[in-house]
Structure formats: C-alpha cells, structure tokens
C-alpha cells in the first residue's frame, strides 16, 4: 500500500506535465514580477505603484509579488521543480545506464550472438553473394547517414558510451545548480562598506553600511580587514575610461597584506571566497571630535555621496552620532561638502577650496547647528566640544561578497552546458548487421536501437537494406525488442 502510494508520488513528480506546469509557472511569475515594482513594502516605487493600482495592489501584496523571487509561492514552485528534476534525473540515469550497457555490449557483439538475438533478418537475394552483402549493406546505410565500421564479420554503427549520458548529466547539473544557489543564499554575506582612502576597516557586520547575510553565515574566524590605499579619480587604462578607481588591499589578522590591486568593473579583487567590487566612490571628510579644552576625543571618516539634485551637490552617506558617557545618543551630525559648479553641474571631485557643511540635529530632528568650515577650522557643538575638519579626501564604496559556492555554481552551469550539448548533438544508436545462415538461406541479421539524434528511421533502414540485398521484404525476428526507445 505504502509502496504503491510512493510509486504514485514518484510517478507524479517525474511526470513531464508537472515539469511543464512548473516551468510555465516560473516563467509567468517572472513576467508578472517585471511588471510589478520590486522592493520593500514601504519603498517609494512600491508605494507609488500601490496608490496608482488600488485594485490590483491587495492581490499583488497577498501573493508577495513586490518581493517576487523570495515569495513563498515562487519558492514553493521552485522547490517542486527541484524535486521533480531530482526524480526525473534519477529516471534518466537509469535509462542512460541501460543504454550505456547496451552500447558496450554492442561494441563486443559477435556474428553468432547477433544471429541468436536479432531484431530483423533480411533474406539475401540469390544473386547477392554473402561476402558482398555486408559491403552493399554498408553503402545502403551510408546513404541514410549511418556510418559503419566492419570488423570480425559484423557491420557496426555503435555510439560511444558517453553519448547517452547527456540528458541525465544536464538534469543532475541543474539539480546541483539549484542546490548550490540555495546553499549560497544560506551562507553568503553580501554588503556595502564605505572605506576612505588610508582607512582600514575590519570585516565585521558593524563595518558594513548595508549587509545581507544568510542564516548560516558566520563571522567567527573572520579576522581580515580591508584598506583603500589610494584612489585615482579618473583612470584611463587600455584606452578605456575606467572612472574613479581605488587600490584595495585585503589584510589578514596580523595586518599582512594578502592581496592588493586596482578595483574597477571587470577587475574584481578575489581572495578565496571573497570578491570585492567598487560600484561607487564619493568624498570623505576627516573629522576630529574635540573636548572644550581642544583635546581630541575621537576621529571619524564621514563618507559623502555625490548628488546633482542636492543643494551642495553632495549628501551624507550616514549620520555621525555623538554619545554621552552612558552611551546614549545626544545628537546626530550630517556632513556634506559644497562642490564647485561648472557648466551648470556640480563637479564630482574635491573642490578647489575644500570645506565641510556641518549640520547638527537634535534627537527630535530640529537643527541645532548649521555651519560651513574650512580645513583646520572647527564647528562648536551645543553643550561644549567641537568638530574639527582635518581634510577632505575620497572614499570607495566597496561591494563585498563572501560566497564559497560561486565556483560550484560556475561548475554546475558548465557541466549543464556540456550535458546539454551531448544530449542535443551526440547520436545515440546501435546498428549491427552480420550475414548468417538461417532457415531461409543466407540472411542479414540486424539489430537496431535508434534512440536519439539519428538521421534516419527504423523503417527507412529496413526498406533500404531490403531493397539493396533481397529486393524483397525483411523478416522480423520473434524476439524483436527495444530498450526504452
């Protein structure tokens, strides 16, 4: 009873209709997902769309269409597709194994065993000498696109053993790809970290401005750090303008440099499972926090992003918090750099006279201080102390991905392509022929398995050989059989 139920479940999972249905669902879901803005429920594109489409929005929201590719419905369907692919791969493996075994046996087949286990026998015409029959058969088959070899009295067109493994390998590689992506999502970390030129930051969650880490990602044992050594604001290399390009170093726990290189599009920094990219750069204000007695209490590199729509041409990448002795936030400080204008646009480089625009906010958001200071000058903080501008430099926004599954994903994709190529291009066939003595006289005993990518059909081969050798018809063998043709 349980076995029957299990078999039914497996049959359902292996069914081509289920595969077609899940593939269609994933495709349709993808189409709908591109028409609906993706993002968090409170993000601007999503809220704007929701206001414009009040009728559809509840449905889209209930289905999770705004985060379509992590929605439970999509993930459930992909899981079903994955399980179906596993069952399907297993069944294809069994077929491939049987076919490969048949191919190996066919390569060793003798004329005697072929006579005993033939699919078809063609009685030779009286004027066809047995010695010439194989030659005539070979020519007839060649005309149909079946190239044969003759050896030990047997005519053979036997595909290599690997030709039948393409489909199984392709499907298993797809399973491996899905598993690698799943494991990758569970263990990878992917984040943005702003690092000023000359600054070193540890690879820890607190160093990232934006961070997505899988539930299995661990920071234990990660003792490396990142340093931006320099930044060329306009690097031209190989005749191509690479834009602003930082030189980035990865250091181990002891501070030893593991790798240093220029980082720009198509030139990522790779160290083990770590990949570092630089999607953007901005300015950095080197700020010292001083006591009333002008004693330096701390220092901060404040990252500042370019924005053509902002008043100064820049916006703070984050706000600097000033804490009291108990660790509670007292106020927040936003730092921007007023840029020089040229041709109606802000020049995205360090201005001729570097200055910092300091705005101090109270916890209720009201402005306490709003002042512009030059390098070396200080802005007084409410309640004592000051912020001194030490200099304006560059910062690189590094995109840092830690994912050891990437090579496995590449490997799975490449193996899938190889499997697909074999499945689509390699012929899968067995054609064996030998002249043997039969009850009707000399006959051509034939065995054929025409599985895939074969240029001809069984009927065409039978007709061509019968015409070439007997001028008559072929006699099917009583034990005619096929292996999953």
């Amino acid at each position: 009873m349980i076995r029957t139920a299990l078999r039914k479940i497996l049959d359902t999972l292996a069914s081509a209709w289920l595969a077609v249905g899940t593939l269609a669902f994933v495709g349709l879901w993808g189409i709908v997902a591109t028409a609906v803005p993706q993002g968090a429920p409170n993000s601007l594109p999503v809220t704007t769309w929701a206001k414009a489409n009040p009728v559809i929005e509840p449905v889209a929201n209930a289905l999770g269409l705004h985060q379509a590719f992590t929605a439970w419905l999509f993930l459930a369907c992909v899981t079903l597709l994955g399980v179906s692919t596993v069952v399907c791969s297993w069944r294809r493996t069994k077929v491939a194994y049987l076919r490969a075994r048949a191919l190996r046996a066919a390569a060793r087949e003798s004329a005697d065993s072929l006579a005993a286990e033939r699919d078809l026998a063609i009685v030779l015409a009286p004027d066809v000498a047995p010695a010439e029959a194989l030659h005539a058969a070979r020519e007839a088959l060649a005309e149909l696109g079946v190239r044969t070899k003759v050896g030990e009295g047997v005519l053979r067109a036997v595909s290599p053993w690997w030709s039948v493994w393409g489909s199984a390998v392709f499907h298993w590689a797809l399973v491996a790809l899905m598993l690698s992506v799943l494991i990758g999502n569970l263990q990878r970390s992917d984040g943005l970290m702003g690092v000023s030129v000359g600054q070193t930051k540890p690879d820890a969650a607190a160093s990232y401005g934006v961070l997505t880490a899988g539930p299995l990602h661990s920071w234990n044992g990660v003792h490396r750090s990142f340093r931006v050594d320099s930044l060329d604001p306009d690097l031209i290399l190989g005749g191509v303008d690479r834009g602003a390009v930082p030189t980035v170093s990865v250091l181990d726990a002891a501070g030893t440099v593991l790798k240093t290189q220029l980082v720009y599009p198509n030139m990522m920094l790779h160290v083990g499972a770590l990949s570092i990219n630089c999607p953007a750069v901005g300015l950095s204000a080197d700020i010292a926090v001083e006591s009333t007695a002008r004693v330096e209490l701390g220092r901060s590199y404040e990252p500042i992003d370019f924005s053509q729509t902002a008043t100064d041409g820049t916006v703070p990448a984050g706000l600097l918090g000033i804490f009291d002795q108990s660790g509670a936030v007292q106020m927040r400080i936003g730092v921007t750099v007023p840029l020089d204008k040229r041709g109606g646009r802000f020049g995205e480089w360090i201005p001729a006279v570097p200055r910092a625009h300091i705005v101090v906010y109270a916890l209720d958001g009201s402005t306490l201080v709003d002042t512009v200071i030059k390098t070396g000058e200080a802005a007084q903080l409410p309640g004592g102390g000051s912020l001194r501008l030490l200099g304006i430099g560059w910062y690189a926004r590094l995109s840092i991905v830690d994912d050891w599954t990437t090579p496995f994903i590449y490997a799975a994709m490449i193996i899938a392509l190889l499997g697909l190529s074999i499945s689509l291009l390699a012929r899968q066939q067995i054609v064996l022929a030998a002249v043997v003595d039969g009850p009707h006289g000399a006959t051509l005993a034939l065995r054929m398995r025409l599985w895939r990518n074969v240029r001809t059909t069984r009927a065409e081969i039978e007709a061509a050989l019968a015409a070439a050798l007997s001028g008559g018809s072929a006699v099917p063998a009583s034990d005619d059989k096929e292996i999953d043709s």
């Binding site: 081509a16 077609v20 593939l23 191509v240 990522m268 990949s275 991905v401 490449i414 899938a416 689509l424």
Partner: protein, 279 residues
C-alpha cells in the same frame, strides 16, 4: 558614417527585394524566383558585412551597443543562418518567406534608430562582451529559423484547398519540416543557455553578482523556459505537428521582446546595450 549608412540602405534594399521575391515565388509557385531570392538575400550580406566592418574599424568595437548595432548583428546572424541552410538544402528555399520579414523588420527599425557612436565603457570592456553577444545573436538566428519553418508548417497544414501545399511542394515533407523546426529550437536552446551562463559569469566579474533578477535576466530565463517547455512537449510528451508549430511561432515575439523590447520598456542595468550608455 555616410558610407556606413549608404551600405545599410543597400542591404535593406536587397532584403526587401528578396522578401518580395519570396512572396511572389511562393504564391505564384515560381520556383526560379524563389531560388533567385536566396541569391539576392546572400548578395545583401556583402554590403551588410561592409557596413559592419567599416563601423567596427572606425569605433574599435563590434556591433554590440545601441539598437542600430544590435539589430544589425541580429539580422546578420539570422540571414547567414538562413542562407547557409538554404544553400545546403535547396528544398528549404521557401522558408525565406517566414524568415526574411523578420530580418527586414529588424533592419528597418535599425534605419530609424539613432546611429550615434557609442564608445566601449568600463563596464563593457571585457572579452565576455563578445562571447555573450555572439551567443545571443546566434541563438536568435536559430529561433528565427525555427519560426520561419513553423510558419511554413502551419500555412501548409491549414491549407484546406491544398493551394498552399502546392505552393510549398518543393519543401521537405511536413514531418521533415517539423523535425527541422525542433532541431533549430534545440540549437537555439543550447546557444541561449550559453548566452545566459556567459552573462552570469560576466555579471559576477563586473557587478559582483551572477544573478540579480534584473528584467533582462528574468526575461532571458523566461525565453529559455518557454523553449524548455517546447522541448518537453516535443521529446517527452511526443507532441508533433501544428500545435507545436504554433508554440514555436508564439515563442518568437517573446524572444524578440526580450532582446529589443525589455531594455526599451523597463529600467534595467542592461539598458546600455540598446540605449548606448554604460551597461
């Protein structure tokens, strides 16, 4: 620039004339006209190669950026695929009736698109660009061939009076056309898969992520899934004939929309290859 445009117009003229000849040849069962249409199509390749070559030499990069270049490359691959197939198997001449209008539409669109010079930007400066684009073009050509064959199949199958069957009588049997359609879909499926894989590897090297569900990425997967469904229907569920031919016909506009429409309609990081900004 002027030389390029002149040769583009010459190419378009050749392809339009060839298309008219295919229509006349097939409708009036003029075998000679259909055969000559193939030669006219092949002749059109010469000015097209010249225009691509001149532009390549001038800009220092192949036809990769901007609708004008992309459509030019897609047309070139489609026409080369068709001409090679038609010259190898003269019985396929009449399939030009399905394929050449696609080429003419693409070329016509290119003529009205911006012909501005777009340099290779930092994001595009990679050998992956050639691999990725080449396989996109080749796969499109294979799908276009399957589309042309499927149209021929459907027209012939729906000809109640047998008039169209007679017009297409030089073509291989319906069974052979059905088989050929599937072979081209298979080829396109493999080439499209290589395009996706090369794109994923390149994206990881350029942007730090191999897949980000960008509209172009999503739609390229959608196209691949559509043809995967076709192959399951054909080889596992043993579908044959007209309904499968309709499937191949319906899949083609989706492919075209993925390559041309998506970067035009949606905001995408891939938009540079049509709009000509950094991709």
């Amino acid at each position: 620039m002027t030389l390029e445009i002149i040769f583009m117009w010459i190419t378009l003229t050749f392809y339009v004339v060839a298309t008219i000849m295919f229509i006349v040849g097939v409708i009036f069962t003029k075998e000679k006209v259909t055969r000559r249409a193939v030669y006219v199509t092949a002749a059109g390749l010469v000015p097209q190669l010249i225009t691509i070559g001149v532009r390549w030499a001038r800009l220092g990069h192949g036809p990769y950026i901007g609708y004008y270049e992309v459509a030019n490359a897609l047309t070139l691959c489609t026409v080369v695929f068709f001409v090679v197939a038609a010259l190898r198997n003269p019985r396929l001449h009449a399939t030009g009736l399905g394929i050449m209008p696609v080429a003419v539409l693409l070329m016509g669109g290119a003529m009205f698109a911006s012909k501005a010079d777009f340099p290779i930007t930092a994001g595009l400066a990679s050998y992956w660009l050639f691999i990725h684009v080449a396989f996109a073009n080749l796969s499109f050509a294979a799908f276009a061939a399957s589309f042309g064959l499927a149209i021929v199949y459907v027209v012939r199958a729906r000809s109640k009076t047998g008039v169209w069957a007679k017009r297409f009588e030089r073509l291989p049997s319906q069974q052979a056309v059905d088989e050929l359609t599937a072979r081209f879909v298979l080829a396109g499926f493999l080439l499209w898969a290589i395009m996706i894989v090369s794109g994923a590897i390149w994206a990881n090297e350029s942007w730090g992520r191999y897949w980000s569900w960008d509209p172009i990425e999503t739609w390229s997967l959608v196209v691949w899934l559509i043809y995967a469904i076709y192959l399951h229907l054909r080889f596992t569920l043993r579908w044959r004939g007209e309904r499968l031919a309709w499937f191949a016909i319906a899949a083609m506009p989706v492919t075209l929309f993925c390559l041309i429409g998506i970067p035009t309609v949606f905001k995408t990081i891939h938009g540079g290859y049509i709009g000509g900004v950094d991709g």
